[in-house]
């Protein structure tokens, strides 16, 4: 069968991400927020090469676990979860987190004044553009050419394998 998958909505708002983590049991007492990225630490206390701005230390993740991190990118926060922790904190957990994030994001938008909404709308437009460029870049790297069309507010990107 041909695939149909909905990928996670990009998480761009730090406050909403922290609120979503709190909903899943990682409240402010268990989450570190760094202005400059901090190194993640493995279960043996080893310093990892990965860095993140939002960090859940391994003692809160589980015995023999590693730190979980979130680092900001142009297409939203990227989760860093070790292979060991994937069974508990992989796709299903990230989907749950993303669902909670979307709820907090919607609630936040309702509270905002017009000026702030305008700013968020601009931020959203930048995010869509970043997502669009990310698909183009990934496609190019993997040998596809991209045919782009717009249907209403949806951008459609069809990837065709290059044959040269």
């Amino acid at each position: 069968m041909s695939a149909y998958m909905t990928l996670l909505t990009p998480m761009t708002d730090e406050a909403c991400l922290l609120a979503a983590l709190a909903d899943l049991g990682f409240d402010a007492s268990k989450v570190e927020v760094h202005t400059t990225p901090a190194n993640l630490v493995g279960f043996t206390g080893d310093r990892r090469t990965e860095t993140a701005n939002i960090v859940i230390r391994q003692r809160y993740v589980g015995p023999a676990s590693n730190d979980i991190g979130f680092r900001p990118t142009p297409t939203g926060y990227q989760a860093i979860v070790s292979d060991f922790d994937h069974p508990r904190f992989g796709g299903a957990w990230l989907s749950q987190l993303n669902g909670r994030y979307c709820s907090h994001w919607a609630a936040k938008q309702e509270r905002l004044a017009a000026e702030e909404r305008r700013r968020l709308e601009e931020e959203r437009a930048r995010l869509v553009e970043a997502q669009r460029q990310a698909v183009h870049e990934r496609a190019k790297k993997m040998g596809y050419r991209v045919q782009e069309t717009r249907e209403g507010e949806t951008i459609r990107l069809v990837l065709v394998k290059r044959t040269y």
Binding site: M1, G90, V128, R156, V160
Partner: protein
Amino acid sequence: MRVNLARTLPRSAANGPGERFVVWVQGCPLACPGCWNADTWAFKRRDLRSVDELTANILATEGIEGVTFTGGEPFTQARALAEVARRVKVAGLSVFVFTGYELEELTSSGQRALLAEADVLVAGRYVEKERATGLAWRGSANQSVHFITDRYGPGDMIGIGEVEFHLARDGSLAVTGFPEAGLVAYDGDE
């Protein structure tokens, strides 16, 4: 007659030749390990539409050359889909069907009725260890393409869209077609 759907996509260029209305049915008894669409396996009520309604949805979509049935397993709802197919063919549209069954397994009268309306059938289980990319319309190398009518032929398998992204205004992405894993890695899975 009604069809139990998982979802529809009014326009896609990665699910058969040309621009197509795509119908993912709900329910599949085969449950191939590694299937992209495990959410469509359960035989539970999801989006019930009458044959009249689904046909009208398809015919109201401008600029498509056909309809594609995928899933889920279309041949578990063969009679209703055969009727949809019959009606859209009268309007000049083509019919493309994905199935996890082999062609010779489609023996019931309902299944033969749907097969009789198909222009192209892509058949066979998804076999994870034979997963391959770059095969037009197929996810694993054991699957086969059958041109049931002469409307399409092997020439239509060249230079086609293999993967398609739909980027919504909130930045969310939906993916359809036959994506390589690297194209759709979740954050943190890369």
